[in-house]
Symmetry: C2
Subunit: 386 residues, 2 copies
């Protein structure tokens, strides 16, 4: 199956924009979908992207200047009829579904944000599945999940499924999920729903359990209008993004709790490499496969140490201050996830954490004033227990 | 902890009504909540209950004649503020949460019914969890799940959790779930959400993986106004209910496919016994426990044989006709679920399948005309693959 037309749900997001350009540069047609809600939700919590991202129509016009095979459609994935219409109209060969609300702290703000994250993510994905079944049954859905779906079990983490022996009998079963926020729960719910749709309708999907992506720049960002967002506040920023931003404005780096929380990490360019490989190599009809997608594993304390070291190379003397953990999570734990499927498709990581930090930190220094302006949105105010 | 005040979500349903009376007869105060949507949804598919159930206000007035400690509140669990208000107002010691859309075929009708079942069940349960956290943190939530959350793995099914050994390491993990319809998926999503709320907020909950309940009568139904519903159509009836109704109107009994689908079954009176035991014996603070709740396991073909046998005792000559299976499910499989927690609390099954059928079939014969009137709503029209 040759992949020509790719639809990206969430094309206005951190990964969506660089992925669109990456796929276009490889000769694919790209239809980008977004309701622009990420911009609104970041404003809602009083923050903004460190990078001064272009207005959506400026950004999408700029892409079209470079790549004529790009189309943008403003659309909300919760709108059943619109989703069905774009699937009928475009019949994509692949969909990369990044169009979900992606923040654990946002989902933990209160009941309203919990329910909104749940219904947005579940209904949007269901709408795509039904529309695929009706109008593009051969299409491959690449769904962005998270390594956080697994939580931190005290055994190795396989890729989606494992061979179990229990009381003398054997079966191959979905690996138990132990998500740690309402947001992470929505990703688990989505995984179950997609697995079921593949089973009953013969749809094909790759569910990406992605580690934390870091970095700002990809080769296709030849113009400031094509910069992707970089969030650093307590709600939308990852721990690593926060540490980079803190270093740049002379704020202590603040790991939560003991800082032994270990996760998989991946440079933005390598995430693009992976998503492209996956989209171009669809599974068989009816196949639901799960790929773990990360490069290196680090604890939060180790991340902070790397940021201290690399920011030192740029004349910054950063300090680390472990603060009270606003989350409920294991702060010291076993962590040994598999990552075999992607190398099997040819994935070769190119940028280590330090390599990427040597690009990210000086780039962020250009935007020091924008970070400084939102300094008070970095420390945690959303607590899991309250 | 002494349980005095119990709130029943879904008190107008098949289990809710007899449970209210059972708990009231044991001296509890009962607040019953319902939005009466089950009546509407059964009408929507062109069917009705075989038993002529009383109008809601007649029914609830009748309960109050016998038990003064009963209150009914008309309310939709999706309404966040109302749920918070009843929790603030009543501060129940236990909640028995039966207030979800409970039909696999209903959820499989189309995308609209899928999304409605998902959002109704997920948002309703989230609203209760947040309201408990805020206004009744000691309250015990007894949540109705289904044995169908597990699917049919080729290994034994424990109660919620299992000890896994994998690549030389051990952990105790949630048992993998493999639900078989959008409805069953909502029950899995709910289980994950409740598990998380117990973990972060210290709530206590018992998640009931219930088998299929059968039967119409309980001891407290001393008056026709207190009859519970008995659904027999393709959407709302269980296989066993359908077979009983088919026998009564001289229709062939129609197992789906090969009929080797095996599930756990439980008489209505024994379900009431279990739910009462569970509600009266709460877990510890922060404990999320899973109980499998059934008595005997039967294949669908065996159910049909029992209905043929018992209906023969009442002069009915029933025949069996295995029809095309509208569902996607294993028609022959291993099935060996545990059921140890409930006997540990004192559960003793009292009515076998045949005992209960000897009550159900003659009772249904009184309502033969009502079943005959909806004869055309028994055969399947909702297919999993279409």
């Amino acid at each position: 199956m040759v992949i020509v037309k790719v639809m990206i749900m969430g094309v206005d997001g951190y990964l969506g924009l660089p992925l669109a350009m990456k796929l276009l540069s490889r000769g694919h047609e790209v239809v980008g979908i977004d309701n622009l809600s990420r911009r609104r939700r970041v404003r809602e919590v009083g923050s903004w992207s460190a990078t001064p991202i272009a207005d959506p129509f400026v950004r999408f016009d700029a892409i079209q200047e470079f790549y004529s095979d790009f189309t943008f459609r403003f659309m909300d994935l919760r709108n059943t009829t619109e989703v069905e219409y774009v699937m009928y109209k475009h019949k994509p060969d692949a969909i990369v579904h990044l169009g979900e609300i992606p923040s654990a702290p946002y989902s933990m703000i209160d009941l309203e944000h919990c329910n909104e994250t749940m219904t947005n993510n579940i209904v949007g994905t269901n709408n795509i599945l039904f529309a695929m079944h009706k109008h593009a049954p051969e299409c491959h859905m690449v769904k962005l999940g998270t390594m956080g779906e697994y939580g931190t079990p005290d055994i190795d983490i396989p890729e989606g499924y494992f061979d179990v022996e229990y009381r003398g009998r054997k079966d191959r079963l979905p690996f138990p999920r132990q998500p740690g926020s309402w947001y992470h729960l929505t990703k688990v719910h989505g995984s179950f729903n997609i697995m079921f749709a593949c089973k009953i309708w013969g749809l094909r999907s790759t569910d990406i359990m992605q580690g934390v992506v870091h970095g700002i720049v990809t080769d296709e960002m030849v113009d400031d209008r094509l910069l992707t967002r970089f969030d650093f506040d307590e709600i939308w920023g990852t721990a690593l993004n926060r540490f980079c931003a803190q270093a740049v404005i002379g704020h202590e780096l603040t790991p939560y709790g003991k800082g032994g929380q270990t996760r998989g990490y991946l440079a933005l360019r390598d995430s693009m490499q992976c998503l492209t490989l996956v989209a171009e190599n669809p599974p068989d009809e009816g196949e639901y496969r799960v790929f773990n997608q990360f490069d290196e594993c680090y604890s939060v304390n180790e991340l902070a140490e790397h940021v201290v070291k690399v920011s030192g190379e740029f004349g910054i003397e950063a300090k680390v201050w472990n603060i009270e953990n606003p989350r409920v999570e294991a702060e010291e734990h076993y962590y040994n996830p598999d990552m075999k499927h992607l190398p099997g498709l040819g994935f070769k990581p190119t940028y280590s954490l330090d390599d990427e930090l040597r690009i990210t930190i000086p780039k962020l220094m250009e935007y020091r004033e924008r970070i400084e302006a939102k300094r008070e949105r970095i420390m945690p105010t959303v607590y899991w227990t309250k």
